[in-house]
Symmetry: C2
Subunit: 245 residues, 2 copies
């Protein structure tokens, strides 16, 4: 039968572990773990699944079992208000963790959708908790990950609560520049995977305002825009815009 006698190559890969080879191990859950600990974490990851653009990873109300680490691709999370309004709460890139909001109620509080073809590592939460009780470094890192999400959200609250449209968009572009850079891509040239409407929802403005503001930045020579493709030309000015008043 298939699978009972895996090839040597596969066997080796399994032994060496997948987290240990993952290019995102410096950004993801294995941060700060030694080889043995990574191997233990690795065994815990039951499934790696791929998603097509537009697929749901989970929906609000789904029962909570696992966290998900983005191995490849790009996601958005969003809350649907009763009256149909949608608020995008985040965009998740490679190495980032999805589903932490579900721990509190054992049910997902938001929807997560792939914005491009993606792959995620599923981390069963009960086992992650058990393991983090045994590996202090994992526990510490997991707590930091939860806390980082809180800080991120509060940064967005600052943005939504006290910035104007230009400031919000400039901060948004710099944030993506930073995150692409952290992953080894260009800080000055990248493709936004989401629509103007998604950006607008995330930043608390309408898609027309997003479009207009991008055009304005382009006229001023701060950026270059071709659809979803963005090139940042003047970082200093962008930085200035985020703190203009």
């Amino acid at each position: 039968m298939h699978g009972i006698q895996p090839t040597t190559a596969l066997n080796l890969a399994a032994l060496r572990g997948v987290c240990g080879n993952c290019s995102m191990r410096e950004l993801c859950l294995p941060v700060g773990l030694d080889q043995d600990e990574i191997a233990t974490l690795d065994r815990l990851i039951s499934t790696r699944r791929t998603y097509r653009r537009g697929d749901s990873l989970y929906r609000a109300g789904d029962s909570f079992n696992s966290l998900y680490a983005v191995r490849r691709g790009f996601f958005k999370t969003f809350i649907l208000h009763e009256d149909g309004r949608e608020q995008v709460t985040g965009f998740q890139m490679t190495g980032e963790i999805l589903g932490m909001d579900a721990i509190s109620t054992d049910a997902h509080a938001c929807d997560a959708m792939a914005l491009e073809d993606s792959e995620v590592c599923e981390v069963p939460f009960t086992e992650l908790e058990r393991l983090s009780g045994e590996i202090p470094a994992l526990q510490r890192h997991f707590h930091k990950t939860l806390s980082r999400e809180i800080v991120r959200d509060q940064g967005l609250m600052l943005l939504l609560g006290s910035m104007r449209a230009e400031e919000r968009l400039a901060a948004f572009l710099l944030n993506f520049s930073q995150r692409f850079g952290d992953r080894g891509y260009s800080r000055s040239e990248f493709n936004l995977r989401m629509t103007r409407e998604d950006i607008g929802s995330y930043l608390g403005m309408k898609l027309e305002t997003v479009s207009r503001t991008l055009s304005k930045f382009q006229e001023e020579g701060v950026i270059e825009v071709h659809g979803k493709s963005i090139r940042l030309l003047d970082f200093a000015r962008l930085k200035t815009i985020t703190t203009c008043r």
Copy 2:
């Protein structure tokens, strides 16, 4: 010398523990713990300190050592932007936990200030982590607490990103009504401890707009306002306002 021979009464109180008697034990860290576990948690709480109105519990940049549970009183947390703008990120009532944002960087990300005379229980974080590795119920509850903060923040993002002034304020009033009710106080009559400016910062609007909107609600017979004292008269209408369009 003082303190070496404490009175019997004090001794008894110490033995029975303070968390076990605290009226907030159903809302605070001890949730779901048995008697022994509460006693263990109790020994971990090194200090209980009081703060006067206006005192800082911690400031952004302070090194992180402990979480704080509000035992009595009322706090606000806020971020100061470089240019001086202040964004209030939360109001904390009895039984709620402060400082979780600091775990990620080992430094506090925001300021916390007492809005009335208050008392907090200091929970040394390293010891809390060690203990939560030993007591699964505590670990689970702590994770839920962190996650609940994430959900709370995302709810505020929805509010800031996609609601109009009246909707925000109605949601704000209902949220406080709920939280006062949870603590055994009236759901329909309470005192707001913060200024209009604090409310405005939290809700992403100017203090004048807060004042005007409260007046409008009063004219419409939905609430009664006398300075910081609020009485909710028409819950159904308030609920309607939060989902008006």
